[in-house]
């Protein structure tokens, strides 16, 4: 089988064409072209098995200079879990001050990924 991909690993966005077969449920790539680095091939393999994505959102901050602190997950999770992940992220609350890089949740949704803050939010001046 032949399939075309746009690699999303980096902004180069390589257009990759891959020939592959599914053997015992595992994709075996026989020919791949268009990728300019190794990560492109890994991306294609993962897309054939189960696409994974990262996601960013925000959570509410109490007593902060800003009402929200931005968050993201540190490793990609299955793409179909992204809407569920965004709903789950909504549940969290933090109290200012918050520093970027604080872990809000380990093993988020049971995946090997952390939910971390990505912004400093100082406490509001009283």
């Amino acid at each position: 089988m032949k399939r075309e991909f746009t690699c999303i690993v980096c902004p180069n966005g390589c257009e990759i064409e891959a020939d592959y077969e599914i053997k015992n449920g595992t994709p075996v790539i026989s020919n791949i072209q268009g990728n300019t680095c190794k990560r492109g091939e890994e991306y294609v393999r993962q897309e054939l098995i189960s696409p994974k994505r990262t996601i960013a959102s925000s959570i509410l901050v109490e007593g902060g200079e800003l009402p929200l602190v931005s968050v993201r997950i540190t490793k990609p999770i299955p793409r179909e879990k992204i809407p569920e992940a965004v709903q789950e992220i909504r549940q969290y609350r933090v109290t200012a001050p918050v520093r970027a890089g604080a872990v809000i949740c380990h093993d988020f949704l049971g995946f090997d990924t952390d939910l971390i803050t990505t912004k400093n939010v100082p406490a509001a001046h009283k």
């Binding site: 690699c7 994505r53 009402p67 990505t118």
Partner: protein, 414 residues
Amino acid sequence: MIRENIDTLIVGGGPAGLAAAVELWKKGMRSILIVERERQLGGILRQCIHDGFGLSRFGESLSGPEYAQKFIDEVTALGIPYLTDAAVMNITGSRLVTIATPGGIREYQAKSVVLTMGCRERTQGALAIPGERPTGVFTAGVAQAYINLYNRMPAREVIILGSGDIGMIMARRLTLEGAHVHAVFEVQPYPSGLPRNIEQCLNDYHIPLYLSHTVTKIHGSSRLEGVTVSAVDAHMKPIPGTEQYYPCDTLILSVGLIPENELSLDAGVTLDPRTHGAIVDENYMTSVPGIFAAGNVLHVHDLVDFVSMEAERLADHVAEYVREGSLPPCTLDVHYDTDINHVIPQKVSGANPFRLSMRVSHVMKNAAIEVRQNGNLIAKKAVKKALPAEMIQFDVPADNLQTSGDLEVTAVQR
């Protein structure tokens, strides 16, 4: 009124200004000041909470605020002076800078000024779409600020006009926040944003992208009720009979960015009609001696990493200018053919290597960008697929350059 002398005044504390300041400091420059009109440093990155920043500059995928924080931490650790809540009101051609601060007006006589004001979004006013002017029409960046900074959801049923990166990123963000994004319409026959964003922001969420289509009428009185969309011909003129009505309460515009150069014009800086930024030489110096520009105020970039790196290159030349009082003259023009939309720099000396930045004006497969002078091939860069959406950058070595004879940049089919 306070009036001080300073070596370098940096206008804007976004990614370009921060990177320039850190690099100047590392070069031993101590008489420098960053002036930022917002309450915090970081510029537009503060609202760009998605990841994918920093892959080139730091080798890791960061969100916008994290990327900015790396530079802010460095500015703080080094003790680089900065003012926030401070707006530059005027810059003269002799580099007298007037700043409004909460403590009153200040003036600086600067040996050099670094312009890093970034860019603005093109707005509805620039598009002249017929119809009413109800609320519900926002630029992508304004919608992004509502959601990511102020915790306000501005939309339920959404149409997006323009396939800029911020528009596509907002298509995903709005979808995940519960809005229904019907489609993205792009007037040009090719997307204006990066392919990876089409993939991960539109295709992943089954949001269709229609090329050669535009919004031809806005409906609604107090709130937007719908838009009429038409297909356009090769000259981007709407084709009668193709009109289709889409009910929606929100129209998001992602139709381009314009470098913000009002202050530059006050200072007498000459702008390039193509980039809407300053005409600069290989040192990133504008037509006014001692005034330099880098980042999105010079030409709109695709990636913040390249903004930072351009500002870092600028810093080398600013340091030399302050030290020596002048820079080698750049009298050679860089010309280009119709396949190319613009080039940076527009002037060179012919004595030094430089980084050429450019965009093609239409999609070209298996292209090569060639730089020639006096009939000699000076530099060549092969590009598998040249897209207007992707800036092309490469170094032009000094080896074969001569100090007389203009340069010619062409895009050729291989």
